[in-house]
C-alpha cells in the first residue's frame, strides 16, 4: 500500500583524444551497470514473504519462481536490463558492453555512416570504454582530400548528457566540405567532464508503436505536443514510446534519444525525441510519453517498411533515457 501512496498525482575518465585504433588495456575493466529493479520491488503488494505471487482472489494458484533452467545460462557479457537504455548489447553489435576493452571512449567505426555527396555529414556511435561516467563527449573528424591534404576538422558533441561505463552514445557531425572530395577521415573522441553532474538513469524505456514513412493512414492523437501529420502523403515516420521511472525521488526534464541502425550496424539516424508534456515531476513508476518524427525522405523509408513487419521499426533501434532529480 505504501507503493500506491508513493506514486502519481498526489506525489509526490578519460585522458584526451583517442586515435581510431583503440588502445587495449592489459586487464580489461568490467563496467558497473545499473539495472532495472525486479518485479518484487516494483509490485511488492503482489508477493508473499516467500517471494511467491499471492493468488488472486477466488484463485488458489500461488506461483513461485521456477528454478534456474539447468541447460542454459546467460551470456556473462550480457549486462541485463540496463536502466535508461534499450538496444543492442555486446561489442560486435555496437551495443552496451560489460567488458571495457579499450580503457577509454572510442569511436565505433563500424557504426559510421557518412554522406557521399553534398555537404559532408556523419552519424555514428562512440562507446565509453573507460572507467566511470563521463560528460557529453566531443567527436572530432579530420577530413582529408585525395592527396592527403586536410580539408576540414569537424567536431560535435554526443547526444547524451553523460555516458556511463560501457554505454554507446550517438552523434551527428555536419561539415562544410563537399563530401565527394573527402578521401579519408581520422576519427577521435574526447571525453567530456570526468565528474559530470549526476543524472537519473533509472528509467525503463520502450517503444509502444510506430508507423512508416510514406503513404499510410493519417495518425491523429488529440494530445498537447503531438505532431500533426501533414494534410497529404508522404507522411513522416512516427514512433512513440514511454519512459517509466524507477527512481526513488521524483524526476524532472526527462529526455529520450533514439538511433536506428541498418542490419550491418551502421547508424541511419540519431536524434532527440520530443517529450510529451507533463504537469509534474515523474514519481516512482510514473511515466512520460515521447514521440519521434522523421521527415527526411532519404532516411524515413529505411526505418520501417510499410509492407513488412507490423507496427514497429524494422531498423535496429537504440533508446536512451535520462532525467534530473527534482
Amino acid at each position: 500500500m505504501t507503493l500506491l501512496v508513493a506514486i502519481g498525482c498526489s506525489a509526490e575518465s578519460g585522458t584526451g583524444p583517442l586515435a581510431q585504433e583503440p588502445i587495449v588495456s592489459p586487464t580489461p575493466m568490467v563496467a558497473r551497470i545499473e539495472t532495472l529493479p525486479p518485479d518484487w520491488i516494483v509490485n511488492p503488494d503482489l508477493y508473499d514473504q516467500d517471494g511467491c505471487l499471492k493468488p488472486p482472489p477466488d484463485s488458489s494458484v500461488r506461483v513461485c519462481p521456477p528454478p534456474h533452467a539447468p541447460f542454459t545460462s546467460l551470456d556473462p557479457n550480457d549486462p541485463g536490463p540496463v536502466a535508461g537504455y534499450q538496444g543492442p548489447v555486446g561489442d560486435a553489435a555496437g551495443g552496451f558492453v560489460r567488458v571495457l576493452k579499450a580503457g577509454r571512449p572510442i569511436v565505433l567505426v563500424n557504426s559510421l555512416t557518412t554522406s557521399q555527396t553534398g555537404p559532408w555529414r556523419a552519424v555514428g556511435l562512440v562507446r565509453n570504454e573507460g572507467g566511470g561516467t563521463i560528460g557529453r563527449a566531443t567527436v572530432r573528424a579530420v577530413l582529408y582530400g585525395a592527396h592527403g591534404a586536410p580539408l576540414e576538422t569537424v567536431t560535435g558533441p554526443t547526444l547524451l548528457d553523460s555516458i556511463r561505463e560501457g554505454e554507446p552514445a550517438p552523434f551527428v557531425l555536419e561539415g562544410a566540405s563537399d563530401a565527394s572530395l573527402v578521401d579519408h577521415v581520422d576519427w577521435s573522441v574526447e571525453p567530456g567532464d570526468l565528474d559530470p553532474a549526476p543524472l537519473v538513469r533509472a528509467f525503463a524505456v520502450g517503444i509502444d508503436w510506430s508507423v512508416p514513412y510514406g503513404n499510410r493512414d493519417r495518425v491523429d492523437l488529440d494530445l498537447p505536443g503531438w505532431p500533426v501529420d501533414p494534410p497529404a502523403p508522404p507522411y513522416p515516420f512516427l514512433m512513440t514510446g514511454t519512459v517509466t521511472s524507477y527512481a526513488r525521488t521524483p524526476v524532472r526534464d526527462a529526455h529520450v534519444v533514439v538511433a536506428f541502425a541498418d542490419p550491418t550496424g551502421r547508424i541511419l539516424f540519431a536524434g532527440a525525441a520530443t517529450m510529451l508534456p507533463v504537469v509534474e515531476p515523474i514519481g516512482w513508476q510514473g511515466s512520460q510519453g515521447y514521440v519521434l518524427r522523421v521527415e527526411d525522405p532519404k532516411v524515413g523509408p529505411l526505418l520501417q517498411s510499410s509492407g513488412k513487419g507490423g507496427r514497429l521499426p524494422t531498423a535496429t533501434t537504440y533508446l536512451w533515457a535520462w532525467g534530473q532529480e527534482q
Binding site: 502519481g8 498525482c9 488472486p56 533452467a69 536490463p81
Partner: protein, 310 residues
C-alpha cells in the same frame, strides 16, 4: 483481503445491476471484476472514480483484440501482425520447418508487448486479466494524472501507447461505456480470467523440483478468436500475418530473469520439441534464444519428457 473481497463484491454488483443491452460492449465477468478492482485501487493516482478509470482501462481491449463492439475480448489473444523479426520464429529463422512454434510478442487483451508496456511481464501474467489489469490501470492512471489539457486529451494521453486508440477510437468507446454510476458492459461468464490458459505443475526432466507452469492453447481460447486466429496459420513472413502458435507451455521469470515458452512434439506434431527464452525487460525480437530438445515435464498430465525418478 477483506478490503479486496469487498471491492470485488461491489464490482460484481455493478456488473449484475446492468440491464441486458444488445448494444453494450461485452467483457468477461471475472476480467471485468479485475479491471474494476484495480481501477478502484488506483483512483488515488488518477483522481478519477473507479468507473471512469475502469472505462478507460477497458476501452483499448476491443480494438486491440479485434473483438469490436459485438464480441468479448479474449485474454489469450496473441499478436499476428509482428512477423518480420526472425527471432520470433522457431530457431530464430523464418524459414523454419516448424512455423507454428512461434513466439508471439504481443499478448492478452491489451496486447502487452515485450518492447513496450509488457517488457517486464511474463506471458502468463500478460494473459491473466488480474495481473494485466493492474499494470494497465496503474499506467493509465499515471499518464492521465501527469498530462495536461482537456479531460479527453488527458484520456488520449493515457491511451497513447495503444495505436488502435488513435483517431478517437477509444474516446468513442469510452463515451459508449462510461456512466457515472456504472460501466455499461455486458458481463460474459464464458470468458474467464485466463481465457482458457490453464495452470499445470511442471518440472525439468532430471530434476524433482516442481513449479507452476501455464499451458496456452489457442485452440481452446475463450472469447473472440476469429480476428487473431485467421489463416494462413503457418504465417507469411513477407506480407503477414505471423503464424498462429500451437499450444505451448510458459513460465517465468526464473532466477536468471528469463521467461520460457516450450512447444511439445505432442502438441505441434512436429519432429522436434522446441523452446525459447526472453529476458525480463528486453524485447523478444532482439533477445530470444531458441533451443531444441525435450527438457520439460508436465507432471500434471505426464506429458513432455518425464523420465521416472526425476
Amino acid at each position: 483481503m477483506t478490503r479486496l473481497l469487498t471491492a470485488l463484491a461491489a464490482a460484481s454488483l455493478l456488473v449484475a445491476l446492468q440491464p441486458a443491452d444488445a448494444r453494450a460492449y461485452r467483457f468477461g465477468t471475472t476480467p471485468l471484476n479485475d479491471v474494476l478492482y484495480w481501477s478502484g485501487q488506483t483512483t488515488k493516482r488518477s483522481g478519477r472514480t473507479t468507473n471512469e478509470l475502469a472505462a478507460m482501462v477497458l476501452a483499448p481491449t476491443w480494438p486491440k483484440t479485434g473483438a469490436g463492439s459485438s464480441y468479448t475480448p479474449s485474454p489469450m489473444t496473441l499478436s499476428r501482425w509482428d512477423y518480420a523479426s526472425d527471432r520470433l520464429w522457431e530457431g530464430g529463422d523464418h524459414r523454419t520447418a516448424y512455423p507454428r512454434s512461434f513466439f508471439h510478442p504481443g499478448v492478452g487483451m491489451w496486447q502487452l508487448d515485450s518492447t513496450g508496456l509488457g517488457s517486464a511481464l511474463p506471458t502468463w501474467r500478460a494473459i491473466s486479466s488480474y495481473y494485466a489489469a493492474k499494470l494497465v490501470a496503474q499506467r493509465m492512471a499515471s499518464a492521465y494524472c501527469s498530462s495536461s489539457g482537456s479531460e479527453s486529451q488527458r484520456r488520449a494521453a493515457a491511451w497513447r501507447p495503444w495505436r488502435a486508440c488513435a483517431n478517437g477510437a477509444c474516446e468513442s468507446i469510452y463515451q459508449a461505456i462510461y456512466e457515472p454510476d456504472r460501466v455499461v458492459v455486458t458481463a460474459d461468464g464464458s470468458v474467464g480470467r485466463e481465457g482458457g490458459m490453464v495452470a499445470r505443475t511442471c518440472r525439468y526432466s532430471g530434476d524433482l523440483t516442481t513449479f507452476t507452469c501455464w499451458f496456452v492453447d489457442p485452440a481452446v481460447a475463450q472469447g473472440h478468436k476469429s480476428s487473431w486466429q485467421q489463416a494462413p496459420l503457418n504465417g507469411n513472413y513477407t506480407a503477414g500475418p505471423s503464424p498462429l502458435s500451437y499450444g505451448f507451455y510458459t513460465f517465468g521469470f526464473d532466477p536468471q530473469g528469463l521467461e520460457w515458452r516450450h512447444w511439445f512434439q505432442q502438441d505441434t506434431g512436429y519432429a522436434v520439441t522446441s523452446y525459447a527464452s526472453r529476458p525480463s525487460g528486453k524485447d523478444v525480437r532482439s533477445y530470444s534464444l531458441w533451443y531444441q530438445g525435450r527438457v520439460l515435464c508436465d507432471e500434471s498430465t505426464g506429458r513432455g519428457y518425464c523420465p521416472p525418478g526425476g
